[in-house]
């Protein structure tokens, strides 16, 4: 009896343990969380707490941000992330690069997500400028900063400045100075953006990111196509089309390209081509 009893107890308790574990994890998920706080400890404090493991702490902060961001991909609601969540994501990337300013991945992820979806091009540029200062051999970072100035902030002169900075660094593609020169003319905005994006795709080998950039590229190509068509329309009829359908009825184009983001292209009041999805 004395030998059998512990075994019976263990056999009895094991299934109970397994069932409790799922219950308690479910319960833990339902506990009220500190939602709405984007606070991450400031980098100087984190640096002290990390002791000699600055680099490792930086890696883990980055992974923490990345895992969080990846986990939101299943969310149904739009926009996918709330305002404070973007802020937290930015803060954690900032903390990660505060511990190790040479770490490239946080900058790379910031450029891929914070600008387009997160709508934080200025913050992203602050981050990237830190990276560009430390990683002074890397042309991608000033290239990204230039793109953000050009595309999101519409500061073409600054964009050209950063592109020239990038072109002086090792391994930079030879088209950068030309691109910088082109930016000085305010026209051809979409076309320039396409050149930028094509260069980014060339340097991206992560499949998910590549796909994301390619979707953007296709959307921009659609816009470029429609912009050119409106120019043709204006040539032919002496005025701008009021709606995109006008161009089909007047046989300028056969069909309106599809927005890969699921929105619909339209002509804005100022005559520019936009889409209801806002490219997000």
């Amino acid at each position: 009896m004395q030998r059998v009893l512990p075994i019976i107890l263990i056999l009895l308790l094991l299934p109970i343990h397994v069932s409790i574990i799922s219950k308690v994890t479910e319960g833990k998920k339902l506990l009220p969380k500190g939602e709405g706080t984007s606070y991450v400890l400031p980098p100087p404090i984190l640096k002290i707490m990390a002791l000699e493991f600055d680099g490792l702490a930086s890696d883990f902060l980055f992974l923490q941000g990345l895992v969080f961001f990846g986990s939101t991909s299943e969310r149904k609601e739009r926009p996918r992330l709330k305002e404070w969540e973007w802020r937290w994501f930015y803060n954690i990337l900032n903390a990660s690069t505060g511990l190790d300013p040479y770490f490239f991945d946080p900058y790379y992820v910031a450029q891929a997500h914070l600008t387009w979806e997160g709508n934080m091009p200025r913050e992203t540029n602050t981050l990237l400028e830190k990276g560009s200062r430390y990683r002074d051999w890397e042309w991608m970072l000033p290239f990204y900063i230039g793109f953000n100035h050009f595309y999101f902030l519409q500061e073409n002169e600054k964009a050209a400045f950063y592109l020239m900075d990038a072109s002086k660094r090792q391994g930079a593609p030879s088209l950068l100075p030309q691109l910088a020169a082109r930016l000085m003319y305010k026209a051809n905005r979409t076309e320039n953006a396409i050149i930028f994006l094509q260069e980014m795709i060339k340097r991206t080998d992560d499949d998910a990111l590549k796909k994301m950039y390619e979707t953007r590229l296709n959307a921009l190509k659609g816009i470029l196509f429609l912009e050119r068509a409106t120019a043709v329309y204006q040539d032919r009829f002496g005025r701008r089309p009021e709606r995109l359908d006008d161009m089909i009825t007047k046989n300028v184009i056969r069909e309106i390209p599809k927005d890969p983001y699921g929105g619909e292209f339209y002509i804005d009041k100022d005559g520019t081509i936009k889409t209801t999805s806002e490219l997000r």
């Binding site: 400031p42 640096k47 000699e52 680099g55 490792l56 890696d59 190790d100």
Partner: protein, 270 residues
């Protein structure tokens, strides 16, 4: 000299036989295995993360070795009163301390060498799986970083002898060593923070600044030997820095051991 050497060899053997050393090694091996897993989650700088993981593991395992094996080596003699047997022989107390210290240094050297081989294998395996993501990677800074870790551990173990020379139990030695380690690793960052507190928007009293500045001179500045970040990114480390860092380590270690033997000589045993 032969007496010192004899004690060193005994200490080394005693350390190697300690069970804790197996635990530490298994723990380190697990972490190095995790290196493969964590590196696979990184998009661009896989090499940097692999080196971070490997070097941090070596350093952390070394720290555990000093704290849980090293301290026991002398504390056991004191706690179990076996020190009477040693001191009744024609060995002076400073010789005893020196011998113990050299034995411990040998133990650190041996353990770190073995762990480094595994660390290098783990980096090598990650490099084999993701060869395209090691753009700024080179081996010499990594080996240098490992040597610096060793120096810093030897310095820390010298401190444990200093604390053991006057504290009554090994627990106090352990606490004092941990505190000095934490202070030593962070003192430079803390000093930078209290001297420019506006960076994080806090206020620091002038007394605190003075205390931190005093601590800066008293406690060992272990962050000098932390070049893991530079090694991970393949950043240049000047020869003069290596020279000054090694000199700093040697001088501080000598001072600590000399102080330990002075205190230990005056110590009275019940």
């Amino acid at each position: 000299m032969t007496a010192i050497w004899a004690i060193a060899v005994i200490t080394f053997k005693e350390g190697i036989r300690n069970r804790a050393i197996y635990g530490i090694s298994i723990f380190a091996l697990l972490l190095l295995g995790a290196n493969l897993l964590i590196s696979s989650m990184i998009m661009q700088e896989v090499g940097k993360v692999a080196v971070d993981m490997a070097l941090s593991t070596v350093s952390f395992a070394g720290l555990l070795l000093v704290l849980f094996v090293g301290i026991n080596l002398m504390a056991k003699d004191l706690d179990k009163k076996t020190i009477y047997m040693v001191l009744s022989r024609p060995i002076s107390r400073p010789q005893y301390i020196l011998g113990k210290f050299f034995g411990m240094a040998l133990l650190i050297l041996a353990t770190i060498s073995i762990l480094s081989i595994f660390a290098i294998i783990s980096i090598f395996m990650v490099k084999l799986s993701y060869p395209g993501y090691f753009s700024r990677f080179s081996w010499p800074p990594i080996l240098l970083a490992i040597s610096f870790i060793t120096i810093s551990l030897i310095l820390l173990s010298a401190l444990t002898f200093l604390f053991a020379s006057f504290s009554s139990t090994s627990f106090i030695t352990l606490i004092l060593t941990i505190v000095s380690y934490i202070i030593g690793q962070s003192i430079m960052d803390v000093k930078a923070l209290v001297e420019a507190p506006q960076a994080v928007g806090i206020q620091v009293s002038p007394v605190t600044v003075k205390v931190v500045q005093a601590a800066y001179y008293i406690f060992p500045n272990l962050s000098i030997f932390d070049i893991k970040l530079q090694a991970a990114h393949g950043l240049p480390i000047s020869l003069s820095y290596i020279f000054w860092a090694v000199s700093y380590g040697a001088v501080y270690t000598c001072l600590t051991i000399i102080l330990a033997s002075i205190i230990f000589r005056r110590r009275e045993f019940p």
